[in-house]
């Protein structure tokens, strides 16, 4: 068995960010169906909370969407109070998809190219 390897989520998944008020919504989607269990087991709510600690200040809800090989993260208090009071350059948090994709998780399989 090959030893586990740490990879950025960027290697095995893609992501789009959306917003509603002060809530950030991050859709994490496995490139390959067989990687969905890796995401499901490795990208826990707690792990995302730790990784995004400086960004998402409130609760994080996670939804599993196995048919879509995706996880949906909904993070409260993530956008500096929302567009109205935020002083941030990216008040909508559009770029947060790539903050999540910087997170590293352990995978068993050797590296392989995405499609």
């Amino acid at each position: 068995m090959t030893p586990p390897r740490r990879v950025k989520l960027h290697e095995i998944a893609h992501c789009r960010a959306g917003d509603k008020g002060d809530t950030a919504i991050l859709s994490l989607i496995a490139y390959r169906a067989e990687d969905f269990p890796v995401l499901r087991d490795g990208v826990t709510t707690d792990a995302v909370k730790r990784h995004m600690a400086g960004i998402i200040k409130g609760e994080i809800r996670r939804y599993e969407l196995p048919k879509l090989q995706a996880l949906q993260f909904v993070g409260e208090h993530a956008l500096g109070g929302g567009v109205t009071v935020s002083l941030a350059l990216d008040a909508h948090g559009k770029s947060l998809s790539y903050a999540l994709l910087e997170m590293e998780i352990e995978v068993q399989a050797p590296p392989r190219p995405s499609p």
Binding site: H14, R16, I29, L68, L89, A99
Partner: protein, 436 residues
């Protein structure tokens, strides 16, 4: 029936909509142009001039699209009415006359409920009274497909609304053409899935998706906008015009299906509560995906109201540094700004673009960039006070660290948004048909 998506936001590309109108074989074209803040900003324009308050690009869009609409016999549904659907419809009719086209235009009004809601009621977001946030300028209920149906039944070729739920702009023509019942929750859910996938236009066809070497998208400069063929049972097959750029596949469609969805089990619109976890999503050809089988539940009893208030002014200033110690010089400039501005503003945001501006830090611990750009931002009650931010940044030219260049400064009026609910019975939708 085939419905296309001709805009995903107020400033979207027009040429892609023209391609769809020319060669898309459309029955309907829907254009979503009204962001959360757009209607309140439009209301401010209307207060200054009662004949305005609709989409600033309406004129340009209609001049390009109306001749194609007549030639190819499709109908157009759009929320470009903004804060003044009647004036927008009047303008569309005038443009049609100017182009020598006979046209029936309908305005759907009734979303403006500023005079019908209690301004002291609590906002859904923070349970504080609505008017404690700031002077209220607009309150618009999200209308559903049912509000647009009378306009469709009138035979109008162009239908202009104000605030309507984005997917409802797409669902209404489906209900009308396919004779769906307004309590057929499963069909309404499937139509809502289709509307949600279409409402951001290019975001389904490879826009907002590309990541070179990982997620490549062909010919993005000519990105094609999407259309969908809707079957009687709500199954929707999505495609784009042959020869246009972009791509539609499981990956692009999954990103868009989940986009801005706070609860995938309960996507709430005025029409239905749709369960997106129950939808099938399959690749059914090159640049073609099909959704099917979503389930829905009864629509909510009340309509959501988006309430806009004046939230002061945002002042911003930026200055760039490059080469050795670029980040150090930007950081020094930031320290100077903090010392000079901290007493004037309650909150100050100071970032080095390239290091901290988007995620608060570099999450990958990467090396420093060649260029760095200082950004300073603060809010103020009035424009003159907000302008101080940019003025101070500009003064870094002669008083700040070495080699600063490319100052940009801005002052932007801010509209805040809070929400409340309104019983359906208190919203009176009206359809006004104009003939050109």
């Amino acid at each position: 029936m085939r419905i296309g998506s001709g805009a995903g936001f107020a400033g979207d590309r027009l040429d892609a909509a023209v391609v769809l109108a020319e060669r898309g074989g459309l029955d309907y074209l829907a254009m979503e142009c009204l962001g959360e803040r757009t209607v309140a900003l439009a209301q401010l324009r209307r207060l200054r001039d009662p004949d305005t308050g609709y989409d600033p690009l309406l004129e340009r869009r209609m001049r390009a699209l109306l001749p194609l609409l007549k030639r190819n016999k499709f109908r157009l549904v759009t929320n470009m009415g903004g804060a003044n659907p009647l004036a927008a419809a009047g303008r569309v009719a005038a443009i049609a006359r100017d182009l020598g086209l006979a046209l029936s235009v309908a305005a759907v009004t009734g979303d403006d409920v500023l005079d019908r809601i209690d301004h002291r009621q609590k906002a859904m977001e923070d349970a504080e009274p609505l008017d404690s946030h700031g002077p209220l300028v607009a309150a618009n209920a999200y209308l559903g497909a049912d509000a647009i149906l009378p306009a469709l039944e009138s035979g109008a070729e162009v239908i202009v609304t104000g605030r309507a739920a984005d997917p409802s702009l797409f669902l209404a023509p489906m209900v009308h053409e396919l004779d769906w019942k307004l309590d057929d929750w499963d069909r309404l859910a499937r139509g809502t899935v289709a509307g949600h996938l279409l409402e951001c236009a290019g975001q389904l066809t490879g826009g907002y998706f590309a990541d070179p070497g990982r997620k490549d998208v062909p010919d993005m400069a000519s990105l094609g906008f999407p259309f969908a063929d809707i079957s009687a049972d709500g199954t929707a097959r999505f495609g784009k015009v042959a020869g246009t750029g972009g791509r539609i596949d499981r990956m692009t469609a999954t990103e868009q299906l989940l986009y801005e969805v706070t609860d995938p089990c309960a996507y709430v619109t005025p029409d239905v509560v749709a369960d997106f976890t129950t939808t099938g999503l399959d690749e059914t050809g090159p640049d073609a995906v099909t959704t099917s089988g979503a389930r829905g539940r009864r629509r909510p009893d009340a309509l959501k109201v988006s309430v806009g208030y004046r939230a002061g002014f945002l002042g911003e200033g930026e200055i760039g540094y490059a080469g050795s110690h670029a980040v150090e010089r930007a950081e020094l400039a930031g320290e100077i700004m903090r010392e000079r501005l901290a007493n004037l503003f309650g909150r100050l945001r100071i970032d080095v673009i390239g290091m901290t501006a988007l995620h608060g830090g570099t999450l990958d611990g990467s090396a420093r960039p060649y260029e760095a750009r200082l950004r300073v931002a603060a809010r103020a009650a009035d424009a003159a006070a907000a302008a101080l931010v940019g003025e101070e940044v500009e003064a870094l030219y002669t008083n700040g660290p070495a080699g600063g260049g490319g100052v940009r400064r801005s002052v932007t009026e801010q509209i805040g948004i809070v929400s409340c609910l309104i019983p359906r019975g208190q919203v009176q939708v009206k359809t006004t048909v104009l003939e050109a």
